[in-house]
């Protein structure tokens, strides 16, 4: 056991060595190393998050559409709240005493040392009053934040709104913290990452009494808040507002596009709402009201509503017929009303006249030739081959597929294909005679107003389009998403366009045209009326157009629900929009007054 006795020295030595090492370390940390002294120096750290201002949004002419307005959150640090005139304070804020107690208790339960929000989003005016007297109430201070403001009160569907980020997003995306704001719809959602900017963090040192003493480590760890990027949209604010004005008391939508770029000039969905309703704490109050409104103002008809294109579709049928070589521009067909109903007009001698007079039987015949090109002995098989080819061609026009526009909430429309009818009727159980209503844009076809305006742009461009979009410029960069720079060819040779376009011009300019009301003095307008059959009520009035004829600057589609024939309401409304855009003023005041005064909201359902 002798040797074991010496082990006490070894154990004791280990204890001593550890003690010694710890003392050396402590001497180093407390006396030699200066880093910790500098960090502390009778101060403690406070981390302040700096919220960046969200990016601004301008229209194409530099008019401000969205900016930020200062709002103020009243903060409280419960530990610092001293004896005070509680009732006076309640008066100042305009809250009942019970609220005061409850809010203070909530804050206390969260933390006695950390600030929490006592009252949210105090307006600038109330802030001015409160600020003056706030010194008397220790523990309370005001933190600045920003609210979105929409000075022109228009384009709500395009701009969208922001709101508090939901828990699922916080979970998924590291950037967001509970209580942050995020774009919920429209451009606010589409360009969220550009608009939001980058949060900054500031670490400041404060003493025991929470007084600021300067920055921590000379601010080397701080990050600056980066302001959100400014976005310039393709919208023309004046045109947009004029469109909204014209659509007052009407259900429907207007989409106007600059053909040579695909830039959306106006995107109106009516009824609409003031975007300022969905800002800050008002959202809670207003959102339920808007979403329960029977007229559904939150619904963006321009992108989400699908209607049959009606007779506007004839322009496309004529082009396909000529491209396929089944008709020429000089082909004439008699107006045989037993095929399909028509109004009274002289027989169309050629493509031009067929467009001008919008002859239904003419297109019955054209579509029959497109579908049945004798590729097979069986009429069923033949129609199938024809439809497949036709479907492919129609889709090149951006129909029946989601247009990759910036706004994420968009429908694709529908162009029936072989599969669809095989499911519907059974394979080999349908032929041209079953589906001939497609010839005049009725039946199972669905098109959203944006696609219709894009069809106008394609005609204006004589054969191509750029995907319609709303982003024109991101400030301080020279790029926009490259997809908007790609020229989409629709696969129709340019030489087939003139007869259709001349016909569209005569729709307006010549006696017997279907949209004489769309005439604008001094500008050659090309257009095509449409009437979408509506099983639920009065037909929808459609007009698709572009102008001027030779160097088009604007292509437009107007849908007015339950307003009947396209030439009556949609055509003159579209012409007002084009005239406004091209000349800046309206010559024919009577035409404008007629549209402004029209109330087409309460059109009786068809019996």
């Amino acid at each position: 056991m002798n040797n074991l006795n010496e082990r006490k020295f070894i154990v004791g030595l280990i204890f001593l060595i550890v003690g010694f090492v710890y003392l050396i370390r402590l001497f180093n940390v407390q006396v030699i190393n200066r880093k910790y002294k500098a960090d502390s120096d009778h101060n403690v750290l406070r981390v302040i998050t700096e919220y960046p201002a969200r990016g601004l949004i301008y229209d194409r002419k530099g008019k401000l559409l969205v900016y930020n307005e200062a709002a103020y959150d009243l903060m409280v640090v419960p530990r610092q709240v001293a004896e005070m005139d509680t009732l006076g304070f309640c008066d100042l804020l305009g809250i009942p005493y019970e609220d005061f107690i409850q809010k203070l208790t909530t804050a206390r339960n969260y933390s006695r040392y950390k600030p929490s929000v006592f009252e949210k989003e105090i307006s600038a005016e109330s802030y001015a009053q409160i600020q003056e007297k706030l010194f008397a109430y220790s523990g309370f201070y005001v933190q600045r934040r920003t609210l979105r403001k929409y000075p022109r009160k228009s384009a709500a569907h395009v701009l969208g709104y922001i709101g508090e980020v939901d828990a699922a997003t916080v979970e998924k995306n590291k950037y967001y913290k509970s209580g942050d704001y995020i774009g919920k719809s429209g451009l606010e959602l589409a360009y969220e990452e550009l608009l939001r900017g980058k949060r900054g963090v500031k670490r400041i040192l404060v003493d025991v009494h929470n007084r600021e003493k300067g920055s921590y480590e000379d601010g080397n760890l701080d990050t600056l808040a980066v302001t959100g990027q400014t976005i310039i949209t393709t919208l023309d604010a004046e045109l947009q507002e004029y469109g909204e004005l014209l659509m007052k008391n009407k259900k429907g939508s207007i989409v106007a596009i600059e053909p040579e770029t695909g830039e959306i000039l106006a995107l109106v969905s009516s009824p609409n709402y003031d975007p300022n309703l969905l800002v800050g704490r008002d959202v809670k109050k207003n959102y339920p009201v808007l979403s329960k409104d029977s007229l559904n103002p939150l619904f963006n008809r321009a992108l989400m509503a699908q209607y049959p294109p009606g007779s506007t579709f004839k322009t496309l049928q004529a082009l396909i017929g000529m491209q396929d070589g089944v008709i020429t521009e000089h082909s004439g067909f008699p107006c045989i009303k037993s095929y399909v109903g028509c109004h009274n007009h002289p027989a169309a001698q050629n493509v031009e006249q067929s467009i001008k007079m919008s002859c239904n039987p003419y297109y019955y015949s054209v579509f029959k030739r497109i579908l049945m090109q004798d590729k097979s002995k069986s009429i069923f098989k033949d129609s199938e081959i024809g439809l497949a080819k036709w479907n492919k061609q129609v889709k090149k026009f951006g129909l029946g597929q989601r247009l990759a526009t910036d706004l994420p909430a968009i429908k694709s429309g529908f162009i029936p294909d072989v599969n669809f009818y095989n499911k519907w009727y059974g394979e080999g159980r349908w032929a041209f005679s079953t589906i001939y209503s497609l010839s005049i844009g009725q039946g199972e076809i669905g098109v959203i107003p944006l696609q219709m305006a894009n069809l106008g742009a394609i005609l204006a461009n004589r054969g191509y389009y750029y995907t319609p979009h709303l982003i024109k410029e991101i400030k301080n960069t020279d790029t926009i998403p490259s997809i908007y720079r790609i020229k989409n060819d629709v696969g129709i040779e340019q030489k087939y366009f003139p007869p259709v376009i001349t016909g569209m011009n005569k729709v307006i300019e010549e006696a017997g045209g279907t949209a004489r009301r769309a005439k604008i003095d001094s500008i050659a307008v090309c257009g095509k009326t449409g009437t979408a059959q509506n099983p639920h009520g009065e037909d929808h009035s459609i007009f698709m157009a572009f102008a001027p004829m030779d160097s088009p600057k604007i292509a437009i589609a107007v849908y007015i629900e339950n307003a009947g024939f396209g030439g009556t309401w949609a055509a003159p409304l579209a012409s007002l929009m084009m005239e406004k855009y091209l000349t800046g003023k309206i010559k024919d005041q009577a035409k404008e007054t007629r549209i402004l005064e029209a109330n087409l909201m309460d059109v009786k359902p068809k019996k």
Binding site: K8, I10, V11, L26, V29, S40, V44, D207
Partner: protein
Amino acid sequence: MRNQRNIFANIDWITVLIYLALVLIGWISIYAAVYNEEHHSIFDISQRYGKQLLWIGLALVLAIIILIFEGQFFTSFAYPIYGSVILLLIAVLLVGAEIKGAKSWFQIGGFALQPSEFAKFATGLALAKYLSTLNINMKDLRTKVIASVIIGIPAVLILLQNDTGSTLVYASFVFVLYREGLSGNILLLGLYVAFLFVLSLLLRINDFTFFDSITLSGDQLLMIILTMVAALLIYWTRKLKKAWMVISFALIMSLGLIFSVDYIFEKVLEPHQSKRINVLLGIESDPHGAGYNVNQSLIAIGSGEFVGKGFLQGTQTKFDFVPEQSTDFIFCTIGEEWGFLGSFFLVALYIGLFLRIIFLAERQRSIFSRIYGYAVASILFFHFLINIGMTIGLAPVIGIPLPFISYGGSSLWSFTILLFIFIKLDSERINVLR
């Protein structure tokens, strides 16, 4: 049986005074850590310092009760006490309350009791009892196994409660076993394994390239070097019989360990545990996550400088910057408010206590008392080692209390019982006949 009436007779006042000093320092530090202008009364039971005052009072009562007992009681009842504590540990697994992820508390009203704290002295008693029986030789395998089982049962039960920190405390019994004859090579082996583990952790994140073509990761390099060293050793010891077998075996085990470092690190340890080790070794920097506590703790301690900021003048510790301010990170308050002088005094006090306990243990006639004394010193030392080490960034963050100082009734009482049983045993050393 002299002076049987006087319970304070023959007790070691030096130890008692150090104990009282530490308890007082603890209370003052808790008061400073949670000090709040709104609550002035030191008896305010809603504040931790008020409660701790109550715990201290009860601890002193406990100490006196222990002194009233015959020392013989603890010798005789070592196993029953151990058995009851084991039962409590099992019970807490079944009906215990979970606090901060560890299911190690009995919740009785507003009062929580942690049986794992009491398992420490009970294990010390049982180990002392077993190793002091006649004809025990640490060199026997049987002895080693039984001693390991006595230590292992509570350790495993506490591990099951998800209280890794308290489990590690049981490693400290290795000092006791060492003193009683466990081969010192085991200590060295432990050191070697730890060294190898840390070295391969540090090296495995680096790549080394030789001759512009061969790239080896750090741990591969380490393995090659070890193999070369082993080869050299075998060459030098070639005249010794069987030396090559020992060296080869050691090499294979070492290589196996390096191989398994990845596995242990990624699979056996919890992510937060491996992260803490990484932060400690400087492999990973994470000033807001795992490194936050240590960084804030170092700022608090470092800002105390030589003489400290003075009582209640600590600012780092006031605003909840260091979590667990009054429990695991209590040393920050001392370091900040009393500076290097205070830290020095405290470290000296502890080392003095440990050495005093060893001194007392060595003068015992009873082997039981000596072994128990070593158990007391080892347990206290291990808490000191880890707790202060973690606050100054020399040990991984393992949440175990600083004896007599950290806030908390269970730990204060268990340390008091632990120490005072030994003080009682020591006071009766003269009565014991070998």
